[in-house]
């Protein structure tokens, strides 16, 4: 995630957030899937449930992250205009 240099307009934050959210979810799902597959393959004798579990976990994590991100007023890794406007100056570190 590259951080843009100029401050974001508030309408762009929405888009930015969605980007992050979706990408994050995909990643998490994929990783969950992968882990699920791995687990099912390794530990659980190719039962399908770890896959689904992993995927579900990934999805859920992604969803949760997404939700949190939408709830926070900040875009992580950015000093948003909104924040400056509202007086919050310190940028939050990005959490992956």
């Amino acid at each position: 995630m590259t951080t843009p240099t100029r401050p974001l307009a508030s309408e762009e934050i929405y888009g930015e957030k969605w980007n992050r959210c979706v990408s994050d979810t995909i990643v998490k799902t994929a990783s969950g899937l992968a882990l699920g597959i791995v687990f099912s393959a390794v530990l659980f004798r190719r039962r399908p449930w770890p896959v689904f579990l992993g995927t579900g976990i990934g999805l859920g994590m992604g969803y949760g992250n997404c939700q949190n991100e939408f709830r926070s007023p900040y875009v992580p890794g950015q000093v948003s205009k909104l924040a400056t406007l509202r007086g919050h100056l310190s940028p939050k570190p990005s959490n992956n």
Binding site: R6, L8, A9, S10, E11, E12, I13, Y14, G15, Y63, C66, Q67, F70, R71, P73, K81, L82, L85
Partner: protein
């Protein structure tokens, strides 16, 4: 009983309760006792012990006022241990006991200290007042002495101690009294008329005395009669005619001598001057001696020793001094003593000599007396005469010796009297007496000495007479005388006797006259002397007194003069001060007045000038301004044009693009003096928002619009992803619509606002270029749409602000331009 049931388990709690109750029981005793009674009735040895302990402690602590409050926390902490032992009971009572005696002591001690304090206070006050009175020594002290009775004595006593220490003189009135001269003193010393009168009287008395002591007429008469008797004796004893004659001669001579001696003895002025002090006594002594001598002489001898008393008439006048001199000279005590000694030394031999002389004279006199008395003694009795002569010589020599010594003595006395200022040596009197006596006796002896010669003369003369008259009888013896002779003798004798009687009578008259005259003269002399003395004395005293008075007067006058001078000086000072004050005040007043007037005048002139100046200046200014304004207006016109152009540029740029710094600087160059422009320019320069223009904003709005619709349902609470999905679904379903109603009807129903309606409105506004309204409405968004639209709103705001400033600039330039247009009236 509930409490009681709880007690065995929860002792601390119970104790707490008890302590609280104790604290609460400070004043009333009954509830505590009630409670303790309840505690007493608890079962269990622990509790009974505890209860017994506690009521005791409770009871005891009730007496002590403040102790339980201190004891209570301590008790509480160490309580579990105390229940078994009984230190509580022991602990508390000592404290209560302690408090009681201490309180008791306190009450007893308090009274004692109070008494002490009172005593100290009183003593301090008294000493303080006394010390202050002593120190101040003025009004306060006087007040104190007048009001409180014994302070005067106390302060006087303190004064005696303090005055020598501090060296201050007592009192207030000392200085004044010293200055006033002592009139009483002088008055006392003045003899006054009374004293002078007294003196005169005394003088008169003395003169009278003297006159009395003088040979009275009686004595003179006596003397005369005695002479007469003698003469008669003579006539009886015819054979002793010569004696009679001699006697008569003697008497006459003696009378003459007496008168002479009176005359001589009277004006013995030297003696008078020397013996001023004791004249009265001398007079008296003289009288005494005169009496004695008269007594002695007169019955024995027909001698008129009348004049001797006058030897004592040294100074009948004084008497007393006319008061003391102002300053008596000091007595040289040594000389005085020495003189005294010498005098006393001389006294004895002198007295013996005088006595000798006296005795010799007396002897002679007695011898002569016998001779005279004895009618049968004739001139031929040489032995007796020789004896008489011898005696007389003896008497003379002794007398001369005595007189010499006496002279010495007198000199010494004079010295003494001058040294001691007229004091008498005690032995002087005696010697004087003796001397006077001696003198008398000596004179009598001298008188008597001549007796024989008188007798001889008398006989011789008688014989001669007889011989001349009766030569025939002379040669005969007395027995041979015939009857005729005898008759002739008798006739002669008778004739002679008659003549003698006539002579005697004449002489008696003459003598009385002469004596009277003598006495008169003596009296007049005495009077004169007395008067003289009196006068001199009086004059002296008056002189002295006048001098004293003068000096006193002078003194007084001096003092008065000084005082007067002082007063005058003071008054002069006061006057001059007053004058100075008045003058200064006057001067100040006038100065002030004149200054005021001057100020007024100057102010008037000043104002006048200023007005004129101002008016001219105003005109000048007006002219200048007009010119300048004209110029200005032209200038400004040009400027305005330029400004307008530039402002337009800026506006266009703002609207459509970006502004550059150059443009703004150009403006500042155009109008360097306009503050308003500067402010605006600063505003524009400071605006560091990202450069936007209208189109961009519009585009952004479309984007924002879309997004806002999509997140319309999201707000602070409902912000999960599901809500996001639902809002998206909603946005898809709601038809986008432009609401143009707002353009006509401005009223917005705030209750019915929602994101969509707002957005519709705003869209319509924007489509009609009503940015301000659009902005206002956009601000009404809430929740997530607001967040989304926030930056658009901010940017729009900035853009609008910039636009406004540039529009202002333009308007300002327009105004300037309008201002510079020539006025058409």
């Amino acid at each position: 009983m509930l409490r009681a049931a709880h007690l065995p388990r929860a002792q601390p709690a119970a104790l707490n309760f008890l302590l609280v109750s104790k604290r609460w029981q400070q004043t009333p005793a009954s509830p505590g006792s009630g409670i303790t009674a309840s505690t007493k009735s608890t079962p269990g040895s622990h509790t009974t012990q505890y209860a017994t302990n506690n009521p005791a402690s409770a009871f005891k602590t009730q007496t002590a006022a403040s102790r339980p409050s201190f004891n209570a926390p301590i008790d509480r902490t160490s309580n579990p241990y105390k229940t078994t032992t009984s230190p509580t009971s022991t602990y508390v009572p000592p404290s209560s006991q302690r408090t009681n005696p201490s309180s008791g002591n306190k009450t007893g001690g308090g009274a004692g200290t109070l008494v002490k304090a009172i005593v100290y206070g009183v003593a301090l006050g008294v000493t303080g007042t006394l010390a202050y009175a002593e120190y101040e020594n003025d009004s306060f002290r006087r007040q104190l002495e007048s009001t409180i009775p014994y302070t005067a004595t106390i302060l006087g006593g303190i004064d005696q101690v303090i005055d020598p220490v501090l060296g201050r003189q007592k009192s207030i009135t000392k200085g004044i009294t010293d200055k006033v001269p002592d009139l009483a003193y002088v008055k006392d010393k003045l003899p006054g008329k009374d004293q002078v009168k007294k003196l005169g009287e005394q003088v008169k008395d003395a003169t009278n005395q003297v006159v009395e002591k003088l040979p009275d007429k009686n004595t003179l008469k006596k003397v005369g009669e005695q002479a007469k008797d003698a003469v008669n004796k003579v006539t009886d004893k015819i054979t002793d005619q010569s004696k009679a004659k001699g006697l008569v001669h003697q008497t006459t001579d003696q009378v003459k001598d007496a008168v002479n001696t009176v005359r001589e003895a009277l004006p013995d002025t030297k003696g008078l001057k020397k013996n001023l002090d004791h004249m009265k006594e001398q007079i008296q002594d003289a009288a005494h001696t005169v009496k004695e001598t008269v007594k002695e002489a007169v019955p024995a001898l027909p001698k008129g020793r009348s004049g001797d008393s006058s030897g004592k008439l040294t100074d009948p006048v004084f008497i007393e001094e006319a008061g003391e001199m102002a300053v008596p000279p000091p007595i040289p005590q040594d000389k005085y003593k020495k003189l005294e000694e010498e005098i006393s030394q001389l006294f004895a031999p002198l007295s013996t000599q005088i006595d000798e002389a006296l005795s010799a004279a007396r002897e002679h006199i007695s011898h002569m007396k016998t001779l005279i008395d004895n009618p049968h003694i004739s001139t031929s009795d040489h032995e007796t005469w020789k004896k008489a002569e011898h005696l007389q010589e003896q008497a003379k020599t002794s007398y001369e010796k005595a007189t010499d010594k006496l002279r010495e003595w007198k000199d010494k006395l004079v010295e003494y009297s001058t040294a001691t200022n007229g004091q008498i040596h005690p032995e002087e009197k005696k010697l004087d007496e003796k001397y006077q006596e001696l003198h008398k006796q000596y004179t009598t002896s001298t008188f008597v000495k001549n007796f024989r010669t008188y007798i001889d003369e008398a006989t011789k003369s008688f014989q001669k007479e007889i011989e001349t008259m009766f030569p025939s009888l002379a040669g005969k013896n007395p027995t041979q005388l015939t009857h005729e002779d005898l008759q002739a003798l008798l006739v002669h004798a008778h004739r002679r006797v008659v003549k003698l009687q006539n002579d005697i009578a004449r002489m008696r008259i003459n003598e009385s006259d002469s004596i009277k005259a003598g006495v008169e003269s003596a009296r007049s002399e005495i009077d004169r002397l007395v008067e003289e003395r009196v006068q001199t004395r009086v004059a002296k005293t008056t002189e002295q007194l006048t001098e004293e008075l003068k000096s006193y007067e002078k003194n007084l006058r001096q003092q008065f003069d000084e005082q007067l001078k002082y007063e005058i000086v003071l008054q002069h000072q006061a006057l001059t001060q007053y004058l100075a004050d008045v003058l200064s005040r006057q001067y100040q007043e006038w100065a002030r007045e004149y200054e005021k007037q001057l100020e007024n005048e100057s102010m008037k002139i000043n104002l006048n000038l200023q007005n004129q100046l101002r008016s001219t200046l105003d005109r000048l200014h007006a002219i200048e301004q007009a010119i300048e304004a004209n110029y200005d207006s032209q200038q400004r016109g040009r400027q305005a044009q330029q400004l307008w152009i530039q402002a337009q540029n800026i506006l266009n740029q703002i609207v459509h693009g970006t502004t550059t710094e150059n443009d703004l600087d150009v403006i500042s160059k155009i109008v360097p003096n306009e503050k308003f422009v500067h402010i605006l320019l600063n505003e524009l320069k400071a605006d560091d928002s990202p450069v936007t223009n209208e189109e961009m904003l519009r585009e952004r709005f479309t984007h924002v619009n879309k997004l806002c619709r999509r997140v319309a349902l999201i707000d602070d609470e409902h912000n999960s992803l599901w809500n996001y999905f639902l809002s998206y679904l909603q946005s898809l379903l709601i038809v986008r619509q432009r609401d143009d109603t707002i353009l006509t009807d401005d009223a917005i129903d705030l209750n019915r606002l929602s994101t969509f309606t707002i957005l519709n409105y705003v869209q319509s506004y924007l489509d009609h270029n009503q940015w301000y309204n659009a902005l206002r409405l956009m601000q009404l968004l809430s929740g997530e749409p607001r967040n989304v639209a926030q930056s658009w709103i901010a940017d729009t705001r900035n853009y609008l602000a910039k636009k406004q400033t540039s529009e202002l600039l333009e308007a300002y330039s327009n105004s300037i331009g309008l201002g510079t247009l020539p006025r058409t009236a």
